[in-house]
């Protein structure tokens, strides 16, 4: 590494990384994470013959669907240089409202209405971040604390009711031998990728994350666009709450707790910069699939919980380590305005 290189490059949002050929780097990154997932599934055959089968792949995709939907929203927020810590609370909100208002059946408009409420929560986050200029970390954490408390008060501690019929259908039925949710997730990934990489909205998000001053000069309405990212994130989280309700046939107040860190980890492992402006949704999907695969394989090893957790953490660090070389190959190119 030459001396003239900016040492802190890892910490600086780098617009320049996107200049020419940025897609190929992202593609490489995505290939690495998907490759690691496939290796893990194949390798798991050595652990247990029951693993590595087609049905395990389907299980992984089904379990990964929660994380994929979540980390799409989280990814958009991270892309604009923010962070959404309110995800667990919004998941709980979505789940609690879905069971409370539409338990068992429900009119067609109830679920969209719940998503709209979740969207309002996202708008509140966006308002705090863009208008009040509160750091995203603090704003979304405050929202999370407020919502969790409201959900606790609303349910008096015990959420009641069953899954709405539509969500049970999504999570529990199969079509041509494949769970319906897998089709849904494939469509979601396609739509998400189009939105992030092939629309004006997506390009604006990249522009804001890379350099918000430049984006402003270029005529991007920073406030509204950033707020939209938070709204999308909250809607995704609310929908995951409903999916979880459909999967487990009920809501709990802590149902979202285990999804915050994985949602960030999936985005970062997928090759996005935590500081924004760089990354692709396909990479994030790879990160989500890798994390989920890891979880299922480790769960099957039969080690005690503690060692499984140690291995999980170790693999996250290792995955980051693998990304690193790729990262630096790009950094070595002359750049930076």
């Amino acid at each position: 590494m030459s001396v003239s290189e900016p040492k802190g490059a890892a910490f600086q949002a780098s617009a320049d990384l996107r200049r020419g050929g940025g897609i190929s780097r992202e593609t490489t990154n995505a290939i690495i994470v998907f490759g690691l997932s496939i290796l893990l599934i194949l390798g798991s055959r050595f652990v247990s013959p029951a693993l590595g089968s087609w049905s395990q792949v389907l299980t992984v995709l089904m379990l990964a669907s929660f994380l994929i939907v979540l980390s799409f929203g989280q990814g958009l927020v991270i892309l604009v240089g923010g962070l959404d810590l309110s995800i667990p609370a919004v998941i709980t909100l979505g789940g609690v409202l879905a069971t409370g208002w539409a338990g068992g059946g429900g009119d067609w408009y109830v679920l969209p209405a719940i998503l709209a409420i979740c969207g309002l929560v996202g708008a509140f986050n966006g308002f705090g971040v863009t208008v009040l200029k509160i750091p995203p970390f603090i704003m979304t954490m405050a929202t999370s604390i407020i919502l969790a408390s409201a959900a606790l008060g609303y349910t008096s501690g015990t959420p009641r009711g069953a899954s709405p019929a539509a969500m049970t259908a999504l999570m529990k039925t199969t079509w041509v031998g494949i769970p319906v949710v897998v089709y849904f997730v494939l469509l979601f990934v396609l739509a998400g990728w189009l939105l992030q990489s092939r629309t004006v909205f997506g390009r604006k998000l990249y522009a804001i994350g890379a350099n918000d001053q430049a984006a402003r000069v270029a005529g991007v309405a920073i406030g509204p666009v950033t707020t939209q990212a938070y709204v999308v994130s909250a809607i995704c989280a609310g929908f995951v709450g409903m999916m979880l309700v459909g999967y487990a046939n009920g809501a709990t107040l802590r149902m979202g707790d285990n999804y915050l860190l994985p949602s960030i980890a999936a985005v970062v492992i997928g090759g996005s910069s935590i500081l924004g402006g760089r990354g692709s949704f396909i990479g994030t999907v790879g990160g989500a699939v890798l994390l989920t695969t890891l979880g299922t394989v480790i769960a099957a090893i039969g080690l005690e919980q503690g060692w499984r957790t140690v291995i999980e953490g170790g693999i996250i660090v290792a995955a980051l380590f693998f990304m690193r070389e790729e990262f630096f190959a790009r950094l070595r190119r002359p750049k930076r305005s």
């Binding site: 890892a10 910490f11 603090i138 954490m141 008060g153 860190l261 960030i264 953490g313 380590f321 690193r324």
Partner: protein, 335 residues
């Protein structure tokens, strides 16, 4: 006090303002004011609040979070996020509960052990971030999960007993009035003031404010960042030690609640989450405010179901207030 030591680095352009205005509008001063206001409210609703017993309890409750927030401040100042705090606190808590050592000598060995655990984790973080240049939030997420796992390996369910000496003496008072936990917090603050005089101490601000400029001015970015993570790790170790003294038992998930609260305390204390501005003492008082707020809400008769709603809004208001105060004073100074 602390505030003035930090200021020269914080604002180069503000030379015309008098020192007391700067001191009054610093993050530490504002959060201290918040603490006083909260305490007054507490005293209003809870007459016992002014007794030495209640005060000692408050300090004991706040000590683990305060020291952990102090550690996190080092990393945040150098422009990073350290999630390993949750892992280290869990790990040291479990260490204290599974291998209790009696007497003052045992307590000292335990404390050194906790510091050593924190230092090892901090070294790993420092290596991942400063040398390998991984993103801080992701690398420390990894080490946090590993530490949580190790804590589970050592103790798979809540249990164990912390040494009696530690749990009695460290939560007690000196001469019946001075809380021991308060002395330990003061020691951390004092160490910080000394650290501020060193090149590494100044370097943390320089690196956090502008890494390239710091490097060009001859600051060893790698060394500074490394030092920040190791120092932070050791403070998390002390935080785990104090938590064990307070809870007197082990819990492999003891550190989990710290993850969010630590950042809230740091931000409340006036440290910029994007690095380079703030100080450790503000974070300590910020942690105190967060813990005090719970008591105030409880004594004010807010149902425990809804305390979170107040906490969230107070957090937002405190941040806004911290930003608004300096502007108010600046406007006044210009007239």
């Amino acid at each position: 006090m602390s505030a003035s030591a930090v200021q020269p680095l914080e604002r180069n352009g503000g030379g015309r303002k008098s020192n007391w205005v700067r001191a009054l509008t610093s993050g530490a001063a504002i959060v201290t004011l918040l603490y006083v206001v909260l305490y007054a409210l507490y005293a209003l609703w809870e007459p016992r609040a002014l007794s030495s017993y209640t005060f000692t309890n408050l300090i004991n409750n706040a000590a683990p979070l305060a020291i952990a927030a102090a550690g996190e401040t080092l990393v945040v100042l150098s422009r990073g996020f350290d999630l390993s705090v949750a892992g280290v606190v869990s790990l040291t808590n479990v260490f204290m509960a599974v291998w209790p050592m009696e007497g003052p000598g045992g307590a000292l060995i335990s404390l050194l052990g906790c510091c050593a655990i924190g230092a090892v984790v901090g070294t790993v973080n420092g290596w991942l971030v400063a040398v390998l240049r991984l993103q801080t939030i992701a690398a420390t997420l990894g080490t946090m999960i590993v530490c949580q796992g190790l804590a589970l390996v050592i103790l798979d369910a809540p249990g164990g007993m912390v040494a009696d000496w530690v749990s009695y003496e460290l939560t007690g008072t000196l001469f019946g009035v001075v809380p021991i936990a308060g002395l330990i917090i003061a020691a951390v603050a004092l160490l910080w003031l000394v650290f501020l005089r060193t090149n590494t101490g100044i370097g943390i601000y320089a690196v956090g404010a502008d890494e390239q400029a710091a490097m060009l001015s001859g600051v060893s970015v790698t060394r500074v960042r490394f030092a920040a993570f190791v120092g932070a790790g050791m403070l998390y170790g002390v935080a785990g030690f104090m938590l064990s003294a307070q809870t007197a038992t082990g819990n492999p998930n003891a550190g989990a609640p710290f993850l969010m609260l630590v950042f809230a305390a740091v931000a409340l204390g006036g440290t910029s989450l994007s690095g380079g501005r703030g100080g450790l003492i503000g974070s300590i008082v910020g942690a105190g405010c967060l813990m005090l707020l719970q008591k105030v809400l409880f004594s004010g008769g807010v149902s425990s179901f809804y305390t979170g709603i107040f906490q969230g809004f107070v957090l937002i208001l405190a941040i806004l207030f911290g930003r608004f105060m300096p502007r108010l004073f600046n406007a006044g100074a210009k007239k």
